[in-house]
Symmetry: C2
Subunit: 299 residues, 2 copies
């Protein structure tokens, strides 16, 4: 099997996630003496590339219009672009990858990718569909940290065309940079579940911010409102794209949530204290059972 420390890594899109991946690979995999691995990066704007090179996070930088020269050298490529741009990039550059390369992505929705690339990248390179469940509210390379991935979940959606040894290689990378749970599933389950755990939460946080009378409400808070709305400091173009791409599943989850909210409102309107107490007891016990389970399993 290929050794992680001797690979050439390529990062396409050096934003908050691409930057964190580059930093984590540098810190956890290429920091030992005697490694001959490298990290190369390509990005539309030049500033993050220059910064990453100055910080010795990356070994080589490529403007996006010269990305083919980078791809030809890379054993493992992380495409860290917005969802639609990821599909577009993979289609455009399918023949530019190094033969036998492992290519993966970070997109928060997957249906368009799997249906848009039914055979992946063909026999040329092995595209593994994946989703690192991590990040931060702030954008850009400058806000990226190698520590983002510590103790986080990673979702993999292996396709029939993927080579088992490449999936194993990617898993060893994922574990090496800090993730503690790898869940394998199919893209439909992913898009349905993510619409709930991620997108619905962002919708709720956003609606809660817009429900505030003014921006001084936090003076009356004990921290709950801040906790529930922190993720509302949102990257609007990215999340619009995610919401719209996964809107069918997201609408279902919003409706389910609206029903529960309406149930609680009705108990208040009818002064059903006994019903409310029993509802809250169920909530407590269900939430307490949702502890993190740090194991690799199939769903």
């Amino acid at each position: 099997m290929k050794e992680l420390k001797n690979l050439t890594y390529g990062i396409v899109g050096l934003g908050i996630m691409g930057g964190a991946l580059a930093k984590a690979i540098r810190a956890h995999i290429l920091s030992e003496a005697g490694t001959c691995g490298r990290v190369l990066a390509s990005n539309r704007s030049k500033a993050p590339l220059v910064m990453a090179q100055e910080e010795a996070v990356v070994d080589g930088i490529y403007p996006l219009d010269q990305v083919s020269g980078m791809l030809a050298q890379c054993d493992l490529v992380y495409v860290c672009l917005y969802p639609e741009a990821t599909l577009e990039f993979l289609k455009t550059h399918a023949q530019d990858f190094k033969p036998g390369a492992v290519v993966t992505d970070i997109s928060g929705v997957k249906t368009h990718l799997v249906t848009g690339l039914p055979d992946g990248l063909g026999s040329h390179a092995d595209f593994i569909v994946g989703h690192p469940m991590a990040g931060g509210e702030k954008e850009g390379y400058i806000n990226s940290k190698a520590s983002f991935f510590n103790n986080r979940n990673y979702i993999l959606m292996p396709q029939p065309y993927n080579k088992p040894e490449n999936i194993e290689l990617l898993k060893s990378l994922i574990t090496a940079i800090g993730f503690t749970r790898i869940v394998e599933t199919d893209y439909r389950t992913h898009d349905y579940k993510i619409a709930f755990t991620s997108q619905l939460c962002h919708v709720i946080a956003s609606a809660l911010v817009q429900s505030a009378d003014d921006n001084r409400v936090t003076e009356f808070g004990g921290g709950s409102y801040e906790d529930l709305t922190r993720i509302a400091m949102i990257n609007a173009p990215l999340w619009t794209e995610l919401f719209m791409a996964d809107r069918t599943e997201l609408i279902k989850h919003i409706q389910k949530f609206e029903s529960q909210l309406s149930l609680m409102r009705t108990m208040l309107e009818t002064q059903d204290a006994a019903g409310m107490e029993s509802y809250l007891e169920q909530v407590r016990s269900k939430r307490m059972s949702m502890s993190r389970i740090d194991t690799v399993r199939k769903v």
Copy 2:
């Protein structure tokens, strides 16, 4: 003015909040050499009292049926009971306080207290209506920490009968135990604002837990769902009482939130990407402007 370090403090109800207050007073006010202050505590069950005494957090313990003997000694009493029980306690023991004592509470709703005690405790003791905006998900003395109050908000609702020097005394205590912002307001504003920043958030978190298909959803999460539902590990009897007591205001806030949620759902249903992006831009900028403002001010 009375010196905080020489007062006798009484804590009625040694749960998570009463316990944290006792610990914070011990740590920040009575830890110096040469102080002659004391902390006494009363509680329905004996176990927390014994534990607090063994930990040298309190100097004297009183079963609840002997609380009058404690009240007679205390210069400053914190009533840390559930909202209805607080009113009941103050009515029952109005004549038991040491003459001139300052008495305050921690109840999360205030209308019933202010309307139920239009003259406070009469000329006997000075009851100051207050709400420390702090706490934890877990219950009981055993989960209380002196650090709960660091950098938190405290709301005071001075009444016409309150003596200015007593309000100043309480404020100096509040600041000494870690709070960094004291907001003064009236009980109606308090109950309206708290129904939003605290109760609505607990309703949303609870409805979000009940919307989950199962208790394994967190395997697909990047942390947002956990952050939004942490407060759903809820004390059901207490929150039922808070919700019901403040239900008129809470229902209004739920309806406002439901309108915003419905607006977002409609944009998804009509595939209004431009509308969604502009909505999310507004959300981001509104949320970013909600930074903490650590000053004492009147609202």
